[in-house]
């Protein structure tokens, strides 16, 4: 099929437009949005699909909104070698016209429904719908990869080129094989469904059978055990019976030998008695010998110890005398020591008394000095308290003085100076204001005779001679001001003097000097006070010493009181400077203290020498006392030791006496029982008796040995032990047998054999079923895999032409490493580039779109040689490619036009500027 032109009238937004398309080559139809590019594609579809009388909404939708006009489409195309002009108008003035020119030039026309049917028929005959849908890419569909497996023209082309016919007839078988396979297996090849369940059922049945078999095996084992136990029990019972018989035989034998044994026991008993008697006699003899020896030994010891006792007592008495003598000497020395100590104490008391007197003298002097110092401190303090002048005050006063002098000088210079002299007798009276006679002198109301006065007039001076003349002098304009300054300076100076409580400046200076002197005096006096009181208040110690010495307090001498007056000079200009001074009421009062006459120092030295002598004598006596005490202690210790020695000697002598007495008594008692001379003969007799009885015992033992009597008892005991053991073993066997039989009885009730047989029967049936399933499953798998393998091979071969075409086109864009693999639907499944193989879903959007376009161009190329080729139409594609790819894809689209009709609809013509030999058609709005 080739499209030649499309004409749209009253079609959506298009009023009347015809687009002519070249029959071969690539055409790019360019138009802005909404100008009707997509309507071209839509119109082509509608003209074939909907008859002119259609009321479909799709038809109604193409009518321009609000316009009662008839949508109309005319399409001119080549179809199956025929040239068709096909026009259809819907909704109003409906009409359909079809004009066909055959290859041989014959023209035919149809109208109305016939035209529609004929056009439809021709389209269906010559255009494969799958191929048409595959190669016509609508808006927004450019990413969709084509799945063209059912496109007949493609199948034909592929089959022709590959030589492999499509195996469509086998598809039901393929489906059936797959269905059969999936009955038993998953696609991954694991057992599935009935088959998988069957395996589980077999396992369960095997387990059940195994358990049943095991239970039954245990029964069989029990049967064997019981049989064995029964046999063992029989055997043991038999052996036990035999053994009990031998036990009885031994009992009989033992009875026979018991008599001999009894006799032997009797003789043994007698032998024991005789032996005991002999031992008794031997003991008696030995005891007698020991008693005799003891008496002899103790007699000798008794004499020795009595002698030692006497000696020790003599030594002890001598030692006691020595102690007595030493203690008498010691008492004498003690007495002498007490005497010497009293002498020392007397001397110490005298020295102490004299030393206290000396200290009292010293303190008394110190106290007098302290009183003086405190008077000086008080006086200086009083002076300082009265003086209100300091360096700053003096400086201020000096300044005020200067200011007064300065003001006065200015006044003198600035006002009239009037000399009034009384020349005559007439009274001269002076009055006025602002008059100054200099230095504060008062202006008299009148002048004395010959008196004169110089006046500075700062206001008005009236000099009058009463009744005669009156002269008035008036100062100039500044006089008042100068006068006021003088007054101010004078007033300030007076204020300062008043504040400082001084008469004038020289008085202030003098007062400042006096203050400095008083301050120095105060510091000196305080230093002295501190040194006098450094060792505590002398008054307190004087009081203590006086009390200790018993001295009576008396009146203080009057002259000493006077000496306490302050020695401060009167200060000129000082106002009542000492009026405020009062003596310190808190000072030490010596009113009642009578100072004793000073002690003679030589008297103390004599007393101290006497004390030293007394102490030397006492030390000598103490040394004598120590010697006497040591001697007495030594004597006492020696006496104690000697006394102890004597006591021990006495005790030992007494003990020896007692033991001798006891030994003699014991010997006497023994002799009373048996005389010494009878002791040996009794022992000899007993010895003979023992020997006699032993001879008898030897004889009877020979009889016992001959009869084997001793062994019989042992054998019987052994046999009884064995019997007991055998009986125990038999009991154990019996118990085991009963237990086993009990178990068997129980297992008999449980029907374990039936269970086992039943389980095995079940298992066999299940296994048979499973084996059958397995055979079927294996067969299904074998068929599935074999067929699948052959199909895959065929598929590979079959898809090769398309694959080769896609790869050839793709390599012009991507280079030589570009490869693709197709699936059963001939759709591209995977792409490899530079060795990286990816599923198409994993590719970028741009790569997917490019691959979709390449695939369509490849399909178009494959089918281009047949009559059933169709145009490739892209509505708005290549929106995802970069510039480089656009260039390569453009070249590809251009080449595709060389052997087919390629129509591209776009609003972005720059995407296709690299398409060589393309025809661009611009749609205007």
């Amino acid at each position: 099929m080739r499209l030649h032109s499309l004409t749209l009238r009253n079609f959506r937004g298009v009023k009347d437009r015809t687009v002519d398309l070249p029959a071969i080559g690539t055409t790019v139809v360019v138009g802005d949005n909404e100008v009707g590019k997509s309507s071209l594609v839509e119109a082509f579809a509608l003209v074939f699909d909907f008859p002119d009388d259609s009321k479909s909404t799709r038809i109604r939708d193409i009518q321009p909104v609000g316009q009662d006009v008839a949508p109309e489409v005319t399409v001119e195309l080549t179809l199956g070698g025929r040239e068709l002009a096909y026009t259809k108008r819907w909704l109003k003035n409906r009409s359909t016209e079809l004009s066909i020119v055959d290859p041989d030039g014959r023209r035919q026309t149809w109208t109305g429904r016939e035209a529609h049917n004929e056009a439809e028929r021709l389209f269906a005959e010559n255009v494969d719908p799958v191929l048409w849908q595959t190669l016509m890419v609508g808006q927004g569909q450019s990413l969709v990869l084509p799945t063209p497996a059912d496109a007949e023209p493609l199948i034909t082309a592929v089959t022709a080129e590959s030589g492999t016919p499509v195996d469509g007839a086998s598809m039901p078988l393929v489906t059936a094989v797959e269905h059969e396979y999936l009955r038993y297996w998953t696609r991954g090849g694991r057992p599935h469904g009935e088959y998988a369940k069957s395996a589980a059922v077999v396992a369960t049945a095997e387990l059940a059978a195994e358990q049943a078999l095991k239970a039954m095996d245990e029964v069989v084992a029990d049967i064997r055990r019981a049989e064995r136990l029964a046999l063992d029990l029989d055997d043991l019972s038999s052996r036990l019976g035999d053994h009990l018989k031998s036990v009885e035989d031994l009992r009989e034998r033992k009875k026979a030998t018991d008599e001999i044994l009894l006799r032997r026991d009797s003789i043994r008993s007698r032998a024991e008695t005789a032996r005991a008697r002999l031992e008794n006699h031997t003991r008696t003899r030995l005891e007698r010998e020991r008693l005799l020896a003891d008496v002899e030994r103790f007699t000798k010891a008794d004499a020795e110890l009595a002698e030692r006792r006497t000696d020790a007592e003599t030594v002890a008495r001598k030692a006691a005398d020595t102690v007595h003598t030493a203690e008498a000497a010691l008492a004498e020395v003690v007495e002498l020591k007490d005497e010497r100590r009293a002498q020392v104490q007397d001397a110490e008391r005298l020295v102490s008394l004299l030393m206290d007197r000396a200290e009292l003298d010293r303190l008394t002097g110190q106290q007098a000095e302290l009183v003086d110092v405190r008077v000086r401190i008080a006086a200086a303090g009083t002076v300082l308290d009265g003086i209100k002048v300091d360096d700053a005050t003096v400086a201020e006063l000096e300044d005020a003085r200067a200011k007064v002098v300065e003001a006065r000088a200015a006044l003198a210079a600035g006002v009239p100076e009037v000399l009034v002299r009384r020349a005559g007798a007439e009274a001269v009276e002076l009055s006025g204001t602002g008059l100054d006679a200099g230095s504060g002198k008062k202006v008299p109301g009148s002048l004395a005779e010959d008196g004169e006065i110089e006046l500075l007039v700062s206001g008005e001076l009236v000099v009058g001679v009463p009744g005669q003349v009156e002269v008035k002098v008036r100062a100039g304009g500044e006089a008042a001001t100068l006068r006021a300054r003088v007054d101010e300076a004078v007033r300030r100076e007076k204020d300062l003097l008043k504040k400082a409580r001084v008469k004038d400046l020289p008085a202030a200076r003098e007062l400042l000097r006096k203050g400095d002197l008083a301050s120095a005096e105060l510091q000196e006096a305080r230093r002295t006070e501190r040194s006098l009181t450094a060792g505590g208040d002398p008054a307190e110690r004087i009081a203590l010493l006086a009390a200790r010495l018993g001295i009576v307090e008396g009146e203080e001498p009057a002259e000493e009181r006077e000496s306490k007056q302050p020695a401060v000079e009167a200060v000129p200009g000082q106002m009542s400077l000492f009026e405020q001074f009062e003596p310190d009421e808190n000072a030490f009062d010596f009113e009642d203290f009578e100072v004793p006459a000073p002690m003679d120092v030589a008297e103390l030295a004599v007393a101290q020498r006497r004390l030293e002598d007394a102490r030397s004598e006492l030390a000598e006596v103490e040394r004598l006392l120590a010697d006497a005490e040591f001697a007495a202690a030594q004597a006492r210790k020696a006496a104690d030791e000697d006394r102890s020695e004597a006591q021990q000697a006495r005790a030992r002598a007494e003990l020896a006496g007692e033991r001798l007495t006891a030994a003699v008594e014991a010997l006497e008692a023994a002799r009373a029982v048996l005389a010494d001379e009878d002791v040996d003969s009794a022992e000899v007799e007993a010895t003979a008796e023992v020997e006699s009885v032993l001879d008898e015992l030897t004889a009877v033992q020979e009889q016992v040995d001959a009869a084997g009597a001793d062994e019989v008892a042992g054998e019987l005991a052994d046999a009884l032990a064995v019997a007991t053991r055998l009986q125990g073993e038999r009991d154990v066997l019996r118990d085991s047998l009963r237990t086993t039989e009990g178990r068997l009885e129980q297992s008999g009730r449980d029907g374990l054999a039936t269970r086992r047989d039943s389980a095995e029967l079940d298992l066999a049936a299940i296994r048979a079923e499973h084996e059958s399933l397995k055979r079927r499953a294996d067969a299904a798998r074998r068929v599935y895999e074999t067929l699948g393998r052959h199909r895959a091979e065929a598929q590979t071969k079959y898809s090769e032409p398309l694959q080769n075409r896609i790869e050839a086109l793709g390599r012009s864009v991507y280079g030589p490493s570009f490869r693709v693999w197709l699936d059963d639907d001939l759709a591209v499944a995977e792409r490899e580039l530079d060795g990286a193989r990816l599923r198409v879903e994993a590719l970028s959007t741009g790569a997917q779109e490019q691959l979709a376009i390449i695939t369509r161009l490849a399909i178009s190329h494959l089918v281009s040689t047949g009559d059933s080729s169709v145009p490739v139409i892209f509505d708005d594609a290549l929106g995802w490619s970069d510039k480089g790819r656009l260039r390569d894809m453009g070249a590809l689209l251009g080449r595709a036009g060389d052997h087919g009709q390629v129509i591209i609809l776009t609003c972005m013509p720059e995407r296709y500027e690299h398409v060589p030999r393309a025809t661009f058609i611009k749609l205007e709005a």
Partner: protein
């Protein structure tokens, strides 16, 4: 039969039933029934659960029919020579149902423990289940002491005391016997294979036939009833295997009978009477074309009592794929009709023989055809798995087509 007049008193004292038998015994001869190898509780895997239940019931039914035969023949008693039960540890139901079946036999019954139900520790015969339910007229031989079952008839037996006897299992029953008193018929009940019949294949000691015959000859024994062989077998005129009352395996030649034994003063008459209802059949088919397949179908069709018949089928040959499918379908269908039809795996070697025409008929092309061809060649190369696959593929292709 000098002892016969005293029979009534003895029997009345020992039995609560059996007056009919006593009257029969009043004649000049004594008739009794000999059976063995009931093996109650036996299971057969090839029968399937349903077949197994019906077959187990059939074995009990056969026991009850022995009772009917006893009534009909005037038998004075019934002896069962071993393997009454399949095992000492059968389930309780089996024992109770056996007791019910035994009650249907109205004359005294003497049971001999065999190798399956030996008088071993834990034996069924000493269990409370048996002792609590066994009918009073049933006697189990637990020792070798002679038992006068009816006046003038003495039974001696050699019960198995272990499944592993160490010597001739029949010998204890008669070794120390003196000749039977005059007028007394003595019957030995024993269980085991005869040395003469075992062919030296038995793994337990066998019964010395020569000694048995000597005992008959010297008048110690008048009839020797044997058990263990499931087919009815006459060893001599006085030594018999009764065989099982109901078939247990296809190899058995004459199963499903009870022996009616009549002893007169000098004669013996033994008659085999069928009491079993089941058949176990073994068949071997050569299959190579449609005709042979049809023959097999006919063989199946002709078998009687299909619901009580087990068929063990062996076959070899090769069949085209369509015929192979037909064979499968036929065997499956017969399996539904018969008690059981089992392909004898050991002897089943029917192979598919696909020829080009088979494959062409399917009109396959391309990969399908290639796959089938590959399987066909693998089969030709001896690949058995390929045969099954090919058969399957053929069927799928045929159904899909």
């Amino acid at each position: 039969m000098a002892g016969i007049p005293g029979v009534v008193g003895v029997l009345v004292g020992w039995l609560s039933v059996g007056r009919v038998s006593v009257l029969t015994a009043m004649n000049d001869s004594i008739t009794f029934l000999h059976s063995s190898d009931w093996q109650l509780g036996m299971m057969r895997r090839f029968l399937g659960p349903d077949g197994q239940a019906r077959w187990a019931q059939a074995r009990l039914d056969a026991v009850m029919r022995i009772g009917e035969v006893a009534n009909q023949t005037g038998a004075a008693f019934v002896v069962v020579t071993g393997d009454v039960f399949e095992h000492n540890q059968v389930e309780r139901q089996t024992i109770l149902r056996a007791c019910e079946a035994l009650k249907r036999i109205e004359v005294p019954v003497v049971l001999l423990p065999g190798n399956h139900d030996a008088l071993e520790p834990g034996s069924l015969w000493t269990s409370s289940q048996w002792l609590g339910h066994a009918p009073e007229h049933v006697k189990v031989v637990t020792d070798t002491l002679p038992l006068e079952i009816v006046p003038g008839v003495e039974i001696v037996g050699a019960p198995w005391r272990s499944r592993r006897p160490v010597s001739d299992p029949a010998a204890p029953g008669y070794a120390d016997l003196a000749p039977a008193p005059a007028g007394t018929k003595r019957i030995l009940l024993a269980h085991g294979q005869l040395t003469s019949l075992s062919g030296g294949m038995s793994d337990v000691p066998t019964i010395d036939q020569t000694s048995l015959e000597a005992a008959v000859t010297d008048g110690r024994l008048h009839y020797i009833g044997l058990g263990d062989r499931h087919s009815t077998t006459e060893v001599t005129d006085r030594i018999w295997f009764s065989g099982t009352q109901e078939v247990t395996a296809p190899e058995e030649t004459h199963p499903g009978n009870v022996l009616k034994v009549t002893l007169t003063a000098d004669e013996i008459e033994v008659e085999s009477i069928r009491v079993g209802a089941w058949h176990m059949v073994e068949h071997h088919a050569e299959l190579y074309d449609e005709e042979s397949l049809t023959a097999l179908e006919d063989w199946f069709a002709e078998l009687p009592e299909k619901e009580r018949t087990y068929v063990r089928l062996a076959a070899d040959g090769s069949l085209p794929l369509p015929l192979l499918s037909r064979l499968d379908a036929m065997v499956d269908a017969q399996g539904e009709v018969f008690a059981s039809v089992e392909r004898w795996a050991k002897f089943w070697t029917v192979r598919p023989a696909p020829d080009a025409a088979d494959l062409d008929a399917l009109q396959l092309s391309g990969p399908a055809r290639a796959a089938m061809e590959e399987l066909r060649q693998a089969l030709a190369g001896g690949d058995e798995g390929a045969g099954a696959a090919l058969t399957l593929m053929h069927r799928l292709a045929r159904d899909a087509g």
